[in-house]
Each structure stands twice: as C-alpha cells, then as structure tokens.
Symmetry: C2
Subunit: 414 residues, 2 copies
C-alpha cells in the first residue's frame, strides 16, 4: 500500500472489537440493551478509548457516545451503534463504531491524512429498546423529548428514568453542526446473505429500503368444527390463507429481485382444534428501495381487500401500522469514494446493493451526505447470538472504509 | 293424538329446563363446569326432580345423576349431560336430560306405557373439564380410576379432590346392567346449522363421525425480513400456507358433502413483523362418518408430507395427536323407531344426518344399541352463551322422542 494512505492496525481493531464484546457477552453473542447497566459500562469504556485516540469524548444527554476530533476544518462523522437486540450478535453496529475509532487513529498516524477531522459516534438505542434511532434522531435535531418522557422498555422502565439512573439525564445533547460536520459514513455488517451468496467481500449501499407494515384482519363466523359443513362455513383462517396467495400473486408481479414481503405473524381466534376460526389476523411487512413500487404495492393491497369484500362472506380489513419508512438514497459522491477504495483494495470483490435493514444512516442522510459500507455476514445471520463475520472480512472492510474516509475527508477540504 | 301414546307436558318440560338454566346462568348462557359447586347444586336439584318423578335417584361416585326406574323388565336409558363448556349454552346436553325426565313422567302418566321402564341419566363431565365422557365411560365399565386420580381441571384441581369436596368420592358408581338396560336414546341440540338450512325440525343421527387430529410443524430458517431476498428464504410460515392449499386440494378430492377439515390454529415463530418465520405450527382436525375415508385422508396427509420434503428446503413434520375417535354407527332399528315417531308427528320435517360433534352416545353404542335425536340450533351456534333453540322445536323434539321411546320400550318387551 502506498504510504500516502492511512493504514489501519488490524490487531488493535480486533482487540477493541473483542473487548467491546466482553460487555454483555453471552455465549458467542452479546446482550447489551440500550442504557442497561452493562451498556453504560461499555459506553464509559468506549469514551475512554476515544479519549486515548485523541478525541474529545462525551456521553451525551440521551446516551450517545461522541468522540469529536480536535482538528479544525470540515469533519467526516463515522458511526453506528453499540446497543444490541435482546439476542444480539457481537458485531452488528459495534463493528461500525470501532471502525470509526480505528480510522480516526489510522488517519492521525498517517502523514498525508493527519490533519483530517474524523468524529466518531455510537448513537444510542438504534435497536429501539426504548425508542428506535434515538441517538441519531437527537443528533440531527428531531424533537425527542416526548420519547424521552414517555418511552418505556419491555420491562416498563421509563427512558427518562433509565437516563437518570445512568447519570445522563441533565447532560447536554450532541447536535449536528452542518458548518463543520459535512459527511457521514456508517460501516455495518450486511445482516443478510447476498454478499456471501455472490462471493463478494464489500457491499456499497445505494439505498436504504423503505418499509410498509399492515395488519390484515378477517372476520367470519366462529363455529363448531364438527357440526358445520364446509359449504356454510365462514372460516376467517381459511380466508386469511387464501388472501396470502393473492398477495403473493400481486406482489410477485410488481416485485423486482430486491423486493421483499413477509407474513411474520398469524393469529386465529379462538385457536383450538375444534373451532372454526371466527377471526384471523396477520402481520404483513414489505420493503423496497423504490418509493413508487412501495406505493404500487400499497395500492394493490387496498384493491385486493376491496375485491375480496365484494366476493366473500368473510370480511377483510386492512389496518395500517405505524413505522412506515421511506427509502433513503445514499449520496452518489460518497458512494463513488467507497467504490474507488474498494476497487483499489479488493478489486472485483465489491458490489453495490440496497440495504434491506434500517440504519442510523437513514436518519442522518436527509441532513448531510451519507453512505454505508457492508461486510459479509456468515450464513446471512444477524440479531442472533451466532452472528459472525470472517476476520479477513472485518479487517478488509476497515481498510476499505479507512481509504474511503481519507478520500472523503480530503474532498471535504477542497 | 291417539290416547295410546304418551303425551308430554310442554310447560313442565320448559319449566324444568328453565330451572336448570338458573344454576350457573350467565346472561342468556350458562357456566356450569363439571363438579363445580353450582354443578353439584344442579345435580342435587335434578336428583330431587327425578325422585319426584318416581325414579330411584342417586348421584354416583363420579358425579353422574342416575334415575333408575322401579319398574321391572327391560329398560330404555335416556340421557345426556348437564355440565357445560366454560361459555356454555343453556340447552346443549341439558335438553336431553330433561327430555329423559319428562319422558319418564309422560310414559308413567299414559295407560298404554305405564309399565315401561325408563332410566334417566346425566353423565358427568361430557365436556372434559377434567376428563371427557367420564360418566358414560364409567357406566359402560371402562377403567376410569387413572383419570380420577390424575385428571385436573384448568385451575389445577384434581378430579379426586373435586369429588371429595362434593362428598362423592366414596359412593358407588352406577354401571350398565345389560340384562336390564337394553337401549340408549340421547336427545341433543344439533350444534350446527344443517337442520335450519334445510328447514327441518328433527335430525335422526346415522353415525357419530370419527375424528383425527394432527399438528403439522415446519422448520425453515429464521431470517431478517429486510435483508433476506425472497429467492434464498426458507420461510416456515410461507411453507405452512402453501401446504394448506395442498391439504385443501387432496381432502377436497376425497371428501363428500359431510366431510369436514379445519385449521384451527397457526403459530409462526418468532411472530413479529421483521423476522422471516423459522418455525411454523398448525392444528389440523378432520372428521368423517366413514372410517375408510378417514384412513384415506390420513394416508393422503402422510403422502403430502413425504412429497413436500423431497421438494422443499423447509422441512415438514406430521405430529399425530391424542384423541383420535372412530366413527360410531347408531343402531338401525332404533333409528327406525325415531323415524316412525318423527314421520307421525312431523311428517316431512325430519332428516337423517351424521353427528359432527362427539356425544356420550358414542361411548355407550359399542355396549348396547344406541340412537340420537337432534333439534335445530338457531344460527347453528353452540358452546356459546347465545346458543338457543325455538320453543316449538324444543317441544316437538320431546314429543317425537317420547313417542319413539314408547316404541322402543315396547319393542324391548317383545
């Protein structure tokens, strides 16, 4: 590698990742729910590591760990999250945060990049233990006070009380300074199997897909499963099953290879052997990078329900759920910096791809140019204790991210 | 009506039904779970009404109320059950028990039938609060001591303790005396909508259908619903839905108009919006009067599972459940007595039909000739507080049953 480029320290990178894993380690995985005592411990350790790297490190009033570069001039923010799901993998968002830390150190150690300002962030509660994307939302200036006052975790603990217990309640909150913080890079594990399936080592995100969530309710007539002939049944469960086939057919005609839809839950009422279900309910989610396709799928769903209700004695109802997310496009120039770095260090081994999962980058992208880099997930597994990424991919991903960061930071100074 | 035939007293019949309803009345329905305090109260009232009717009435060691005729010669047993489901209708089995009481009185009041012996029974726990068909099983000599020792209700109360609390634990149990008790008649509400749909007033049961119950489990791969392309998913829920279509197709080809099958419950794991289900489970029950068709359906199911597993990456597993019941044919001669009575009192208003529901008659039929008579259920509803039958149908049903009982009792004496 040319001396003009920053060189990361693979052992230091892996050491920090493994130390962070030790906070909440559970078998091969990690349980480090946002603002839990072990998460606070991990945040204090992370802030100390940021300070060791020469950053001005703070834990802010919502729990985000932010390491601000002391260097003047425009800054690149590199971040992700170190909180986990209830059955979390050891890398997930932690990978991107420690990449940021290592890249800040590597740029500082390289003569050509020493002056470049890199801020590093671990946004609080990306996973939504209390309120999803709390840290990044607070950072970009969204109003989060209502969340802070009212959000509770599954145990019923108020977010405000969790912050008070951690001694964070009255601390200032880090906010975006657009005059200084000009770009955002979020490295993350892929959380899917596309890179592995195509034998690629690096994914460069084009778009974070949009999401729609609906419940579909069916109301028929609860009846005795022995005494009610098939011909006079109004079986809500059978209606639900038949409706899924219609969804598959309609969505299949609208979809491209990246469109996904999922029936994640089905409840039949009353749910016994001997009773024809009188009510049935399902969760339907669909995701796509193209906002027009999302709208077309939504329209198709409405039309399917309308058509169904003119034809069937079981009534179908479409219930829109909260949490619709619009697709978010990654900045084309930043994608190009990632592509250049990937092609230099892993020629032919990278690919552009949508992100099927949500990330803090989608919160930040509307405010400053943002981009994401993926490394492969073994077996496509995430949000599971066995989530993992090959060490060579962890190291290569950080090398590519560091090279891209240097390129981005340099471009910001022009 | 000819004076040689017994005449029931409609007001007395309805009065007794309404008094029985008052034990556990809940809105229009009844909650009178087997051996609950209110059920025991109802049993003591019923035994007293039997004694008033000149029967030797006892509550036996498992809780069955048995009114034995003091008349010599062969006896017809008329019975059903007065315990209810957790959300019970007011008639259900109570109808048949009070019919029996009224018929015993009516035959005694008629010169032509005064000598005929009619025993009346309210078998304990038909509904399976502790152990289904306990009373009829004990009556025909099945070993019920294991049930008595081990069975518990949903609250965890042991059947043995419930019997002890009711003061019944050490009482003798009524058992079938084949030399005397030669036939069994069980009147019951239809619990379905066939009589109503065909505008008939009386159903004469040909067969009590057999039942098969299975769980079908599907094991795929739990995955992130955003990052896992449709093409590489192993969605256990989608597999289950597709499999139901195969069942409908295969069973549809084997079925006749009376065959029924029901998917009463579906569980997807983990059951959220954002996770492709890794496991799925469903309850499947099917019923038919023809044992060969039941076997054919069972074979078809096994073949569907085998074929599926050679074709799909999601593994299907067929899990047989307890509670298979074979079809039970009602005695042809007794059916004929019912037909003659129905044709005499309700010409053209009766029909032969299978019973899709289970009844004590299926326990007794292998031991002595047995038959059943149905009256229409309004809206086909049962096991629900709103279950009901038109008063004219209640009265007509008892008139037909009484006339048939006279015919049966007379034939027994020949």
């Amino acid at each position: 590698m040319h001396a003009d480029f920053p060189r990361i320290n693979p052992l230091r990178l892996l050491d920090d990742l493994k130390t962070l894993r030790s906070f909440g380690a559970t078998g091969p995985g990690v349980v480090r729910l946002a603002l839990s005592p072990i998460d606070i411990e991990a945040r204090r350790w992370l802030a100390a590591r940021m300070a060791d790297a020469g950053l001005d490190a703070t834990i802010d009033g919502v729990g985000t760990v932010f390491g601000r570069s002391r260097k003047p001039g425009p800054a690149l923010v590199i971040g992700s999250h170190t909180d986990t799901q209830p059955t979390g993998g050891w890398l997930d968002g932690a990978l991107g945060v420690i990449y940021g830390l290592e890249i800040a150190r590597a740029l500082d150690e390289c003569a050509a990049t020493r002056d470049f300002a890199v801020d590093v962030a671990s946004w609080i509660d990306e996973e939504g233990t209390f309120s999803g994307f709390l840290g990044s939302r607070s950072f970009v200036g969204e109003a989060v006070d209502t969340s802070v006052r009212n959000a509770r975790n599954q145990g019923g603990l108020l977010l405000a009380d969790a912050l008070a217990q951690a001694g964070l309640a009255n601390l200032p909150r880090v906010t975006l300074d657009r005059t200084r913080q000009r770009a955002y890079l979020e490295p993350h594990i892929e959380q899917g199997g596309r890179l592995e399936a195509s034998a690629k080592s690096i994914g460069i995100v084009t778009t974070i897909v949009g999401i729609r969530e609906f419940q579909l309710g069916f109301t028929g007539q609860r009846n005795h499963a022995g005494t009610t002939p098939m011909s006079i049944r109004r079986d809500a469960g059978a209606a639900l099953v038949a409706f899924i086939a219609r969804i598959d057919d309609a969505f299949g005609r609208l979809a491209d290879a990246d469109t996904v839809w999922t029936v994640g839950r089905i409840d039949l009422d009353p749910g016994s052997f001997s009773v024809v279900p009188g009510k049935a309910l399902m969760n339907l989610q669909f995701r796509d990078a193209n906002p027009e396709r999302l709208h077309a799928m939504e329209r198709a769903l409405v039309e399917l329900v309308d058509a169904w209700n003119t034809q069937h004695a079981v009534h179908a109802e479409l219930i829109a759920c909260e949490g619709a997310e619009e697709p978010v496009t990654m900045d084309p120039e930043l994608q190009q910096r990632l592509e250049e770095a990937a092609e230099a260090l892993a020629p032919g081994q990278w690919t552009s791809m949508p992100s099927g999962a949500s990330h803090d980058a989608q919160v930040i992208a509307p405010h400053i140019p943002a981009c994401m880099l993926f490394v492969p997930s073994i077996g496509g597994v995430s949000h599971d204790f066995i989530e993992d990424t090959a060490e060579q991919h962890i190291v290569l991903g950080c090398e590519v991210a560091a090279r891209a960061a240097a390129g981005i930071a340099e471009a910001l100074r022009r």
